[in-house]
Symmetry: C2
Subunit: 325 residues, 2 copies
């Protein structure tokens, strides 16, 4: 594979963002963002750890990797500007497949008018994609996990458990089932980061925010911990797609709370701002659901609890404390 030609082939012909002063082609990229702060996140996905060609085509591998990063910017209340991609390419991955990975990223990036401005291509034994995404947020408009207050409503966008269900169907489903549950497969392969919705919420002064990457059991706990308050959820209110009800109850439970990778947003807002939130959801055709409230109960602060089968249980984090396998 000719690296020089390959880089030429992925170099944008023009940049969407006027803030990009230099993109690919020199030692580093240069961005000028005025009156706003720069938001930066970096994520790495490894073949056979985070994805597999069995369930995810190269195009979707690229798409999902970038979606996960964009979602991190949404979770800070930002919008996206640009991204850099470092890719480790094993010999058995031919150039066509690698191009497909970049096509998947590029198609998603085009929706958000974001530009590829740098990165690295190197050889190695395991396909690894590291993405750095750069966004912007107006000065002092960033959304932190630690900003919840007692009395806040807890909301989540979209439906949960879709991605985990889609992966399950891809791994275990027969052809027929895969057709029947195509919705979930699509949600797994092409998640949609909630940038537009969160941009419409700028009128709301304070909001705690997180994105659903590991499952809300985890993210609700992160908000609870950062805010040192109790997040009380109601399992009955967790929004799931109607077809998820066709699966056994324990799977619904696990997928919707701990499945992760839906890349929806979970947040808390003052009750008085609920109407603004609903209008933002309407304008951006986003479904939102109130799933609980923030409380201040000393012995429970710092954790999330969930009402399920007539009792409150502590909502344990899922698959968090060990190195992601």
């Amino acid at each position: 594979m000719d690296e020089f030609k390959f880089i030429q082939s992925i170099t944008p012909k023009y940049y969407h963002q006027s803030s990009i002063i230099t993109g690919i082609g020199d030692d580093a990229a240069i961005i000028r963002q005025q009156q706003s702060d720069t938001v930066i996140a970096m994520d790495t996905m490894v073949e056979s750890v985070h994805f597999s060609e069995k369930t995810t085509s190269p195009y979707h591998i690229g798409y999902r990797a970038l979606a996960a990063n964009i979602s991190d910017i949404a979770a800070m209340g930002g919008k996206v500007t640009a991204y850099l991609v470092s890719i480790v390419i094993p010999k058995r991955w031919d150039e066509e497949k690698i191009r497909d990975i970049y096509r998947g990223m590029n198609d998603l990036a085009a929706h958000f008018q974001m530009d590829l401005i740098g990165g690295d291509t190197v050889s190695g034994s395991q396909l690894t994609i590291s993405i750095t995404v750069i966004g912007s947020v107006k000065n002092d408009q960033a959304r932190y996990r630690g900003d919840a207050k007692p009395g806040d409503y807890i909301f989540v966008t979209g439906t949960l458990g879709d991605s985990a269900c889609g992966l399950y169907v891809l791994l275990h489903g027969e052809r027929e089932e895969q057709d029947e549950f195509k919705y979930f497969i699509n949600r797994h392969q092409m998640p949609w980061p909630r940038i537009s919705f969160i941009q419409e919420c700028q009128q709301i002064k304070r909001m705690a925010l997180n994105d659903v990457s590991d499952g809300i059991a985890n993210e609700a706990n992160e908000i609870a911990e950062a805010s040192q308050l109790l997040l009380e959820l109601d399992y009955e209110k967790i929004p799931v797609h109607q077809d998820l009800r066709k699966f056994p109850k324990h799977q619904q439970y696990n997928w919707s709370l701990s499945g992760g990778e839906d890349f929806e947003l979970i947040g808390t807002v003052p009750a008085a701002d609920w109407e603004i939130l609903e209008k933002a959801a309407e304008r951006t055709k986003t479904s939102i659901t109130k799933i609980g409230e923030v409380k201040d109960i000393k012995e429970k602060n710092g954790s999330a609890w969930i009402y399920h089968e007539n009792q409150y249980r502590k909502l344990e984090r899922s698959g968090y404390t060990h190195l992601k396998g």
Copy 2:
């Protein structure tokens, strides 16, 4: 390995840079840089491709990986602010060694007052370190490869070929030789990016600049191509350490022109600015050498030539057009 504890252990207790509004701990980091542009570079190093534990300790693996990235910011005329690290960790690398990698990065970062603000830790089969470095450059003070003009003097900082010689001694030298040539080993393991020097050159209005990562045979050609001019070098003037003369002539030639990884700077400045450059070098205790001149010769523009053994030869790029192996 407990990821949560590990991240806690590498999270800075405080940040050097006041521009860092949020570091590790939320979905993304936030930086506020006023009156300056943001410079961003991303680089990936893979075990047994870019480094080996045989020649490089975990501490030095971390140090070098970050040094390479800082050097990219220097090559744009910038100073450094922060960095993000994504690391793929194989099972056989224990936590102590991983900590040593971060120690190496941290020690170098401390010199430049730069802060670790994010990244990712994941498992995989091959140790892979991706670093994103964020810097700043005053508005319109960036140094591009395409800014050379006819008559410019070509300069290089420090001495060249040191790193390649150091690697050679590490791989082939006996114990005694390794002691004798410790200087080169040190230069290989702990290169020093030229941030301070380039910051002292701000008075110079125009400068083409590149850093010596692949060898100046490559970087001189990059400047020549971007500027569409001829870079004419004189081999006799290429600065090398006196002890490099103890090695065979062909090794001196290859190492100094194509060895790479010295992370020195090569650039071009108007002849009238040479004195300013010399003063900047003096103030920052940097050696600089004039190694040639920029010319405008239609049939040679876009390439670099070198005077060696009484004739001018075209200086071929080295190991560039194929995926870095």
